[in-house]
């Protein structure tokens, strides 16, 4: 169980390890984008970790990185096609960030540091924990940005939080807002002692 929970807060891949930043910043303009991205991410991360862990004794050490990349990119291709087929609107918005899951440092980092050395069960739990930690991080960031940037939060056509103000801070959904939100969140978490000290 510890393998699962460590990734969620105390060793959160985004806020503590500062990994996997590109999608965290790029797709967090609205909560629904972040939700779709989280699903895609979990779909790639968990099966990749399971397969790599199962094959850990048959992959020669010298060619392990290319082998990992082939396995991860296969799952990425599958989810890319699935989203293209069933959620074409999101395929348009998320664009190249779905293919870019392949080079996401969280996936590669956990696979290299954990799944390639541990049994399947632990690897799946570790991958799921890191995946959930990553998902929570991007959902929190996107909620803050959407609320401040557009004044309300709308998920799949339903208003979760109705418009609070008529004059939102447009900057928050522009690129600078992403950096600012994460910087301040890290500072707050550290101040409250929620993150493991560096």
């Amino acid at each position: 169980m510890r393998e699962f929970t460590k990734g969620i807060l105390r060793r959160n891949p985004v806020f503590y390890l500062i990994l996997g930043l590109c999608p965290t910043l790029a797709v967090t303009t609205t909560v629904e984008n972040a939700l779709v991205m989280s699903l895609a991410f979990l779909f790639v991360m968990v099966p990749s970790a399971a397969i790599i862990s199962a094959l850990r004794n048959s992959i020669p050490r010298n060619v392990r990185i290319p082998s990992f990349i082939v396995i991860i990119s296969t799952f990425t291709t599958v989810i890319d096609l699935l989203i293209h087929g069933f959620l074409p609107r999101f395929h348009e918005i998320l664009g190249i960030f779905i293919p870019l899951i392949v080079v996401n440092c969280v996936v590669m980092g956990r696979v290299e540091a954990f799944a390639s050395k541990n049994p399947v069960r632990d690897s799946v739990l570790d991958a799921a924990g890191m995946g959930v930690g990553f998902s929570l991080a991007i959902i929190v960031v996107s909620a803050i940005r959407e609320l401040l940037g557009t004044g309300s939060i709308v998920v799949f056509g339903r208003e979760v939080i109705p418009a609070l103000t008529g004059s939102p801070v447009g900057l928050m959904i522009l690129p600078p807002g992403a950096f600012l939100t994460i910087g301040i969140l890290i500072a707050i978490f550290r101040r409250r002692g929620l993150l493991k000290e560096v």
Binding site: I69, T77, P175, P176
Partner: protein, 192 residues
């Protein structure tokens, strides 16, 4: 025929690969402690990005499209880029130990740099540039990356001498700096 100057200005300033497109952030925060390292990293990224833009253009337009297997692009691109970087590393180590000293340790990092794959994907499936367009775009994206990481390194060197509040020390203040830099680059959106 697309406007090459517009592609170059767009990639360097308006859609800066790091600060507005959010690609290559891990190395942007990780390797920007000193200006010298940042410069070497920028140079390596620019070089690899330029070459990989050209190679992936040929692979996409001459191989994947005629065969009708564009959906294989993710697997193919990442493997082509990874093997190219590996080959470059071997050649540089053999031919020029000086250059290897400057670029060597950064080459493996570049393979998993999302900016490289990102630009390759942008050039082919998103923008569908011509060969000239893809070359300029690769070079300009690398220049934009170098510009951003050099600025970040310059600011971080100054930061070591300044008093930062305890909770902001380290990663947090770096993100705030990146936000300010990004704000400046957002201003270029009015130019285009």
């Amino acid at each position: 025929m697309e406007n090459l100057l517009a592609i170059a200005v767009g990639m360097i300033l308006v859609n800066n690969i790091v600060l507005t497109r959010f690609l290559g952030l891990c190395s942007f925060f990780g390797v920007s402690r000193r200006i010298r390292d940042a410069g070497a990293m920028g140079m390596t990224v620019t070089f690899v990005m330029l070459c990989s833009s050209v190679i992936t253009w040929f692979v996409y337009n001459w191989l994947l499209i005629p065969l009708g297997i564009e959906y294989m692009r993710i697997v193919v691109f990442i493997l082509v880029i990874a093997s190219f970087v590996q080959m470059m590393e071997m050649i540089i180590r053999k031919k020029s130990p000086d250059l290897y000293g400057a670029m060597g340790i950064y080459l493996p990092l570049v393979t998993t740099n999302c900016a490289i794959l990102g630009v390759a994907l942008l050039n082919t499936e998103v923008e569908r540039y011509s060969l000239a367009g893809a070359t300029v775009s690769g070079l300009a994206a690398g220049t934009g990356y170098t510009l951003a990481i050099l600025m970040m390194a310059g600011i971080k060197e100054r930061l070591e001498l300044s008093e930062v509040p305890a909770s902001f020390r380290g990663a947090a203040i770096e993100f705030v700096i990146a936000a300010l830099l990004s704000m400046a680059f957002t201003g270029f959106a009015g130019v285009m």
